[in-house]
């Protein structure tokens, strides 16, 4: 079996790939104006930075508009079945720890039909980078409510408004013990690139929610806080070790009151020292969980890395057990194995 070792990130300079190397010959077929175009472009731009030969990178997707992304990446790609991409990634990574594996999914694919696999791939810390395009709607099937659609949303399948309370993707990722949790926005291209880059360098399960606009079935889902004119006032860009400050004039912040966050105006006795300081490496995810529940208009919407902690990965642990067994018992002897138990000989 070809078992090319994955090259380290330090080899980026040696390998010298560019965005173009990651563009496949397939025609991109999302609706004009779809947020997916930007996510694809930022993904292609980020890939050369990792220093992985492109044959060592695999994109695995499920079903939905997001599922098409692997066709457009000139790497290895697998467009699997609805919700199951994390399972293929788990097996691939177990068999081939040398590969860099990305999972491309959507809010329906990851949190509805595939919810179970997200939970378990995260808790196992499978070394995969899961990018979830969250447009809060089913796009490919033409506009039904998704598990992240807001309560009461009128869609083709909920003409009187949906009665299902939505889930918060990052709260789920944190509860599932993901070791890297982040959020970005399709149109915030630099921030998205930076977030993808951080995720790619993380060893273990990375969950990246990308707020993505579906201009056909749910246009403007995030416009209220992501548009250029308002984003500084309505979003909180998380930075490790920095106080949580936001606003065009950097004049507001987040303070803790009891167990609740609150928005405060700096000045009048309130200083930066009163604000919460972001700690993405906190051993327990309390802070990250609190941040995951903050949403406009009550709060600025946080983006950036919520959590980044180290834990042995699934493939490392699996390999370690095999190495240990071989160290203790020697390389398996098939003839001896077949004879094990009570063997007897007939002349």
């Amino acid at each position: 079996m070809t078992m090319t070792d994955g090259l380290s990130a330090e080899n980026a300079a040696v390998i010298q790939l560019t965005r173009k190397d990651f563009v496949s010959d397939q025609e991109v077929r999302w609706c004009p104006g779809c947020g997916d175009y930007s996510i694809l472009a930022q993904t292609q731009k980020t890939m050369p930075d990792f220093g992985y030969p492109k044959e060592n990178i695999v994109f695995i997707s499920g079903i939905g508009c997001s599922g098409r992304l692997p066709y457009y990446m000139n790497t290895y790609g697998f467009h699997s079945i609805h919700g199951r991409a994390p399972t293929l990634a788990t097996g691939l990574k177990a068999a081939r720890p040398d590969l860099m594996v990305w999972v491309i999914t959507g809010d329906g694919d990851a949190l509805s039909i595939g919810g179970n696999h997200v939970l378990h791939s995260m808790r196992r810390n499978v070394d995969l980078k899961l990018v979830m395009f969250n447009n809060r709607i089913y796009g490919l099937t033409k506009g039904q409510a998704s598990p992240t659609s807001e309560m009461g949303k009128r869609t083709k399948s909920s003409p009187e408004g949906t009665i299902d309370h939505p889930v918060i993707p990052l709260s789920i990722a944190l509860a599932a013990e993901a070791t890297f949790v982040a959020r970005s926005v399709d149109t915030h291209t630099e921030h998205l690139q930076g977030t993808l880059e951080r995720a790619g360098r993380h060893r273990g399960s990375a969950f990246i929610e990308v707020l993505q606009n579906c201009n056909i079935f749910n246009d403007g889902a995030y416009r209220e806080f992501t548009d250029r004119e308002v984003r500084d006032d309505r979003m909180l860009v998380l930075q490790h070790g920095q106080p949580m400050i936001f606003g065009k004039d950097r004049d507001r912040g987040i303070r803790l009151r009891g167990l609740q966050p609150e928005v405060v105006q700096l000045g009048n006795g309130v200083t930066e020292a009163d604000l919460l300081v972001h700690d993405e490496a906190a051993p327990d995810p309390y802070l990250a969980f609190m941040l995951s529940r903050m949403w406009w208009p009550d709060f600025p919407v946080p983006v950036g890395v919520f959590r980044d902690v180290a834990r042995p990965t699934h493939d490392e642990l699996m390999t370690a057990q095999i190495d240990k067994a071989i160290a203790q018992r020697g390389e398996g002897d098939l003839a001896a194995l077949l004879r094990s138990g009570d063997a007897w000989t007939v002349e």
Binding site: F78, L99, M318, I322, I326, L338, T345
Partner: protein
Amino acid sequence: MTTTIAPRPEAPTEVELDRVTIRFAGDSGDGMQLTGSQFTRTAAAFGNDVSTLPDFPAEIRAPAGSLPGVSGFQLSFASSEIYTPGDEPDVLVAMNPAALRTNIVDLPAGGALIVNEDAFTGPNLTKAGYATNPLKDGSLKSYTVFEVPISTLNARALEGLDMTAKQVDLTKNFFALGLMFWLYERSMDPTIAWIDDKFGKRPIFADANKRALKAGYAFGETTEMFHTHYRVAPARLAPGTYRNVTGNEATALGFVAASRLARRTLFYGSYPITPASDILHALSGYKDFGVKTFQAEDEIAAIGAAIGASYGGALGLTGTSGPGIALKSEAINLAVMVELPLVIVDVQRAGPSTGMPTKNEQADLLQVMFGRNGDSPIPVVAPATPGECFEMAIEAWRIALRYMTPVVYLSDAFLATGAEPWRIPDLADLPDIGVGNATDPNGFHPYDRDPVTLARPWAVPGTPGLEHRIGGLEKADITGNVSYDPDNHHRMTVLRQEKVARVADSIPDLEVFGPPEGDLLILGWGSTYGAIRSATMRLHGQGHAVAHAHLRHLNPFPRNTGDVLAAYRHVLIPEINLGQLRLLIRARYLIDAQGYNRVRGKPFKISEMEEQALRLLPQR
């Protein structure tokens, strides 16, 4: 007839027998599976041919003494080759009234019945639904009954040990085992060695179990209750080294061997399910062979991970039972579409739905053949005996690799848990099933095909220049790009069908046991092999022109299947389902095959196979 205990005045008579069938039955907490398997190991090591049928409830511990809690273990051992665990026991060991009530129907008149007399108390009789004590009311008069106060005698043997009464009682199965060892002239040594090994760290339990075993043996020797003891000489098996295996053990060993023979890592993704879980347990112990096991969150994740592993160049394997196959169907179809090698183990059990999880059935054949959307052909193989599970596991991988296709391996509960002596193969005799990966970027197309096998290239991630995309959407012929072209879809559907049909080019012809033509062919598949083969041998003895053929390849069928079927006046297809193979055979070969179909959760008996064959044979 009831005997009473008295000291033995003289040596017992010895009787030579060709074959003996014993059934141990007791509460599921009584250790009957252990007792049966210890007797089996001892008989096998002595050189007898052996066949076993464990029969246990799905409940781990049903209420003590209740009818659903009865656990049984039947074993047959012989001085000649045998193929089944015996139609009915010669000896029934019943540890309580519930065990007696559920098993006595199978004991033929005149059969020996050994009961633990101490367990026949009022409450136990009530739990078993007896209005009167069957030991006293004459209802057992057609059997030879041996009433042994096993609990009392065993407790006496363990006197002085620092154990609770409950702990002492748990050893009484060894007393029963010791008694049976005396009755059939077996050495206690293998079991004593086993006890020392098992309880080495807890000497008091080792001591207790050994005392119980020896007390049972001594009881047989010193009382005059048993006038006879029996000798079953070693069988004349083909020369070689043997061991005892269950089907699940042989299956796991076969997959490890396949990994060596293909020079690829074995990855097993599975979700616990009866009766397939033992394959996961066995494989997870073979880490020194580089085997990677993954207990998935569900059946779908188990196969998804196996597909991912195969995509990466490993042997992606998944295993389950019928309900799990239903959950895996969509993913099996993904493997059909992306044409990756994959083996799916189905250890069948009685369905539909949850059905009877620990009971046997062969009713998943049509599910694995057709239970998917679209035209979705998959090769299907089925071992016939526990030992054959080993070679069929390798055969499943040979087909999967050579043809780049998912393959279903159909075992069943009887094969999985039943045991027999297995002649350990010489590694040099095993086939090389290795295939190469695609490496050359020149003219590479992911859906190019080998002109002989129609297999597409296996281009694994990490290979420079072969970056490509696959998935569940229809593929354009050769390029593998997504295609909605009508003619392409037809062509690809036919190609997938043709690829599986060509598997027939590399599988052996269907062998016939018996005359090459005649009055009747009995056609079977899977675990009914032993009963059909034994019945056919009996019918040969009576001068009938009857033959037995057993399919190991159910899709595609061996090339000569039609010719074989046409050579007999009648074809009988006995199956533990309502006629699934018969449907396929009739559709394919347009012959009026007759069925014999019983779904009782149990294997067929030799006698019923014989009876059904005689129905179609000319009177003699």
